[in-house]
């Protein structure tokens, strides 16, 4: 029932994630952060099986930090995504299968922005925009309509607001708040939460 969204621009990547942590029908926590800053230029957002999400993300994050300690420079976002996918693919056919859906978002001064969609089967694809979870089903067409190759950060935030409005209207599960983070040449920044309160006066058609 959790939702992740991601959108890539010419020089940034923006991720949004809901903040609800539920155990079957009970909401345990309303302010769970699912977007993790893994390095100065890298964000990972994860949803899926409880426990697997934290364990797998932490494993990847610590290995990326170890790479930096050993070599003196950061792993590029493309390589980080490749490393993540490889580990998930190896765990897929083992006794310890992790069931996680993730986005790897990063900005490299040489290679530019990178948004990688990774499925629970370790299918990885570099995309311009995508989503995970039931909420993402309502957002595909919004992204198709409003994304363009020269999208700015303000426009991308606006597109995410339209997506959240649609999710809150049409998804049976109540996802009150969405955390938003962006990574660009200046590093990682957390933007204002998109919540039902902040969308009260928002006119999606404009």
């Amino acid at each position: 029932m959790e939702t992740l969204l991601g959108i890539k621009g010419p020089d940034f990547v923006m991720l949004a994630a809901d903040t609800t942590h539920a155990h079957s029908v009970v909401v345990m926590k309303e302010d769970e952060n699912k977007i993790h800053k893994v390095a100065d230029n890298l964000l990972i957002s994860t949803v899926g099986e409880s426990g697997d999400t934290e364990q797998f993300t932490e494993f990847i994050a610590k290995n990326i930090a170890l790479y930096k300690m050993r070599n003196g420079y950061d792993l590029s976002p493309h390589s980080a995504a490749h490393f993540t996918r490889k580990n998930l693919a190896e765990s897929l056919r083992s006794r310890t299968r992790y069931q996680v859906f993730m986005f790897i978002a990063g900005y490299d001064p040489a290679e530019g922005p990178e948004l990688t969609f990774i499925d629970y089967l370790a299918s990885a694809q570099s995309v311009n925009y995508a989503g995970h979870g039931y909420g993402s089903m309502f957002c595909s067409s919004i992204f198709d309509r409003y994304w363009h190759p020269n999208i700015t950060q303000e426009e991308a935030y606006d597109v995410l607001k339209k997506c959240v409005l649609e999710i809150q209207k049409r998804l049976i599960v109540n996802l009150k708040n969405f955390n938003v983070a962006v990574v660009d040449k200046n590093g990682v920044r957390h933007l204002d939460q998109i919540s039902s309160k902040s969308l009260i006066d928002y006119n999606a058609a404009a």
Partner: protein, 208 residues
């Protein structure tokens, strides 16, 4: 994933055809999760060697795993032998890789297309998910719309086509087939490999 068919979960198709001193290999570009299209520029053909292409269709995660593992084995071969791998040898490498997982297979249907590095003879072959190779001298087709592809190829292919005619033939076969398949399509990437050059073309089609 227990009730869904793993080979058709992501959708996709690959064909390869032999012409006069040239080969062509083509795939669609869709990355889907059953009925939902998640990506429209998915790469399913990999340029393993200057004169060798590997096309993979099936479960996307296994496509990437098989490609990475085969690339590793090919690189080790080239370091040990000190020469470029030939299509026949690559077929053996891939066949062994897949049969090693006989009872827990990778859900991929590969196609190998290339020119022999020494004789420049065209070579195409397809394989099933456990490595049974089928080497032919006309065309091979795998994927969710393989029935349609084989039918189209049978009617449009003829021997000794030159590079331009081969491109038109492959394009016709691909478009005619994946237009009738819901989980393939969203454009087609076609590579024509000749003695002295490779031409890559992208055909934009209806995205539905």
């Amino acid at each position: 994933m227990t009730t869904t068919n793993k080979i058709t979960y992501n959708g996709g198709c690959v064909i390869a055809m032999q012409g006069k001193d040239c080969i062509g290999i083509a795939t669609d570009r869709r990355f889907g999760l059953q009925s939902h299209t998640a990506g429209e520029d998915c790469q399913k053909v990999f340029h393993l060697s200057p004169r060798l292409y590997l096309g993979l269709t099936g479960l996307q995660t296994d496509i990437m795993t098989v490609y990475n593992r085969l690339l590793y084995r090919k690189n080790v071969y080239e370091i040990n032998e000190g020469r470029e791998v030939s299509p026949k040898v690559l077929t053996e490498l891939l066949s062994h890789l897949l049969y090693e997982h006989r009872f827990g297979p990778f859900f991929v249907e590969p196609v190998i297309a290339g020119l022999d590095p020494e004789t420049l003879e065209p070579y195409i072959c397809c394989m099933d998910l456990i490595g049974c190779a089928n080497v032919t001298n006309d065309f091979v087709a795998t994927g969710t719309c393989s029935d349609q592809l084989v039918g189209m190829c049978e009617s449009v292919w003829s021997p000794n086509l030159n590079a331009t005619e081969l491109f038109k033939t492959i394009a016709q076969a691909m478009l005619g087939s994946f237009n009738r398949d819901a989980v393939s399509g969203w454009g087609s990437s076609i590579f024509i490999l000749e003695k002295d050059k490779i031409t890559e073309r992208l055909i934009r089609t209806r995205k539905d």
